[in-house]
Symmetry: C2
């Protein structure tokens, strides 16, 4: 029997504890803190899973939104494929989502929420993939959406947004400039700021990623779940899934979360290395891992706490390693964008014969010798270039 | 209990009945006829389906290939989504396959066969999607593959092939010139001509498309299954699936197959209109529906017979209708390439208030008023352009 969960639970400030109804369209606390969802005790009807829909909505029991306004393009239950190179490394193919990235999980939940609330204007900002997801799902919901992206966003991602009829605004400057422009626009009354960073319902959509891994592996979880980290949506989604599965008695230990950043833009990795609980903006360089080039993630402290709580770690990779990993994955039949290759780059590096080892670093040892799930989050067709031409 | 089927069944000429073992790598009969697979009496273990893998390999019972050399990227069980515009029209999202087209179904079966046979060189020709699928699956199998494509093939498709490490050969001229070049190369000893047109195992992979529709609709089939038709792989795959489901007592009637061609390249539609059993090459013009611009499909008589046997028909759409359909689909959240929009264009046209009607044409009436499944076969990211820029 499915749990009777409270739908559309309130939002609560992680800093001061103030709560807000979702209907208020609040996206940040008056104190400046980011918001989470109040506890609602999700309960999965495990016995019903084999007959559930072949999408992420098979986990509707644990989602905070109503089914009667569900906005869905059939997202989820993406393939989990063993790597050709490592029999204990699985590749979770979220690039096979309707808009070709994992962001669809959160966008489906936010569009469902917006439809229930009767919102008639949404706005998002994005380095690309969250914008394409919002464009598609709000189009499906029949709700106009404005998408702010950096002017240098990949042509494939822009083509998607235009195709879905979004009002695309190209913002000069970097990802931070785009975010700043969006925060201004989000203050307009009646507008839903459908941000994958700020709106905490988004993470509840993303958590289905963790439930799927659990179910597809035969209802267990591996030693390590890797995650590329920029704004941390997938880190937080995984941590939430694992916490819920544990609370329901469906796993007896949660995986370590090993997060990966580009060495060119690594504020979380630097905070981690310094043993900090907060993130300070750091100097960055351009990187081909455009999707995680975030200089000041608003949920930095939450991300660091989630990784620490899991017994995980944060590592970095450079662009050369990313390109090599993209090539290696394509040689296995899986063509992903550079951002999606960072985790594979990191696990390959950790398993290189000559790589430095530290037996006291349990997370790195688990990455090297344990069972590992690597996400492939975005399609190579989005950036539109082969990593290299290998024709003979 | 799964049926014990003969693996790697022989090939048989549809014209003269000569049989060939698969190991012979024969791709066309000495008499010039195309080959089919000899009957092998597939039997689906229906009771085991709920616990089957979440891929097309849940139908492994009915596939002619061994599981122990399975070459898989998790393909299949793609979403089946109701159209926003018509509650009795479902959109089967095969563009969410590993290489972003339905061709992966056949490529997985051919690569599995090649691996079992110990082949060490494969060759294919393609307008694009079959080439990207072959590039990915033979890469996964570790078998070198040469892919011949027209020089004008979409950049996204070429990027995929290069990424997967295929030996890509750009052939000047049209699709027919590419096919001619491939036939020469396919005669080299020891080479598997892994053609989606000629190798009949390919169609057995594609038939899983029909099994999935049946299962996802709750083990029944709609009045009409639409199919874009060029070389007819999906028409023949659907007809095969429906025949097998009927033979196993799993359906009590098969759907009508309504095939769609571009009005700029419509040899099958013209043969159909003239009541012919064979196809003659006809004058063609360029079309944005590049994936079905086939002037002389080698399996023409089989395609016509399959559609006729289903009580279906063949209709045409022009490029303006295709572009409009592509836009309409993207406005529902589904961004597909032009070739994939031809069926939606045709069903939209048939349901236009002012469209001419003929109550005696049962297939068109079924298209207008019945339950219809429309395939979305290839991603819009492959051609890389939005149908139009709709930003406000």
């Amino acid at each position: 029997m499915a749990g009777l969960i409270a739908l559309l639970p309130d939002l609560v400030c992680v800093v001061c504890g103030t709560t807000y109804p979702v209907t208020s369209l609040t996206w940040r606390c008056r104190c400046g803190g980011v918001l989470d969802v109040t506890a609602f005790g999700p309960h999965l009807d495990v016995a019903a899973l084999p007959d559930g829909p072949t999408s992420m909505w098979r986990y509707a029991d644990v989602l905070p939104v109503p089914l009667d306004t569900r906005v869905s393009l059939g997202e989820g239950l993406t393939p989990l494929v063993v790597s050709s190179a490592h029999e204990d490394v699985w590749l979770k193919c979220d690039f096979l989502m309707p808009t070709a990235s994992f962001k669809d999980r959160g966008a489906a939940v936010l569009a469902t929420t917006a439809k229930r609330l009767g919102v008639n204007q949404a706005i998002v900002d994005s380095s690309g993939n969250a914008g394409t997801a919002a464009a598609a799902y709000f189009a499906r919901a029949g709700i106009p959406v404005q998408v702010l992206v950096p002017a240098a966003t990949s042509p494939g991602k822009l083509a998607q947004m235009y195709a879905h009829g979004a009002n695309v605004v190209l913002v000069d400057g970097d990802r931070a400039a785009t975010a700043a422009a969006a925060l201004d626009a989000a203050e307009r009354p009646g507008v839903l700021y459908a941000s994958h960073v700020y709106h905490p319902y988004f993470v509840h959509g993303v958590k289905t990623y963790g439930y799927e891994i659990w179910e597809q592996l035969g209802r267990w979880l591996p030693d390590v779940v890797m995650v590329p980290v920029g704004n941390g949506t997938l880190v937080l989604g995984c941590a939430l899934a694992f916490a819920e599965l544990y609370a329901q008695g469906l796993i007896d230990r949660a995986p370590r979360i090993v997060a990966v950043q580009s060495s060119s833009c690594a504020p979380l990795a630097q905070a981690w290395a310094a043993g900090l609980d907060e993130v300070t903006a750091v100097p960055t360089r351009p990187t081909i891992a455009e999707g995680i080039a975030i200089t000041a993630p608003p949920r930095g402290p939450q991300i660091l706490a989630a990784i620490r709580g899991s017994g995980g770690t944060i590592v970095t990779v450079d662009d050369d390693q990313v390109l090599q990993a993209q090539t290696d994955l394509a040689a296995q039949g899986l063509f992903v964008e550079p951002t999606s290759a960072v985790c594979y780059a990191a696990v390959e590096h950790a398993r290189t014969a000559g790589a430095p080892r530290d037996p006291d670093d349990e997370a790195l040892e688990a990455l090297r010798t344990g069972e590992v799930v690597v996400p492939l989050c975005g399609s190579g067709l989005k950036t539109g270039k082969a990593p290299q031409h290998v024709g003979t």
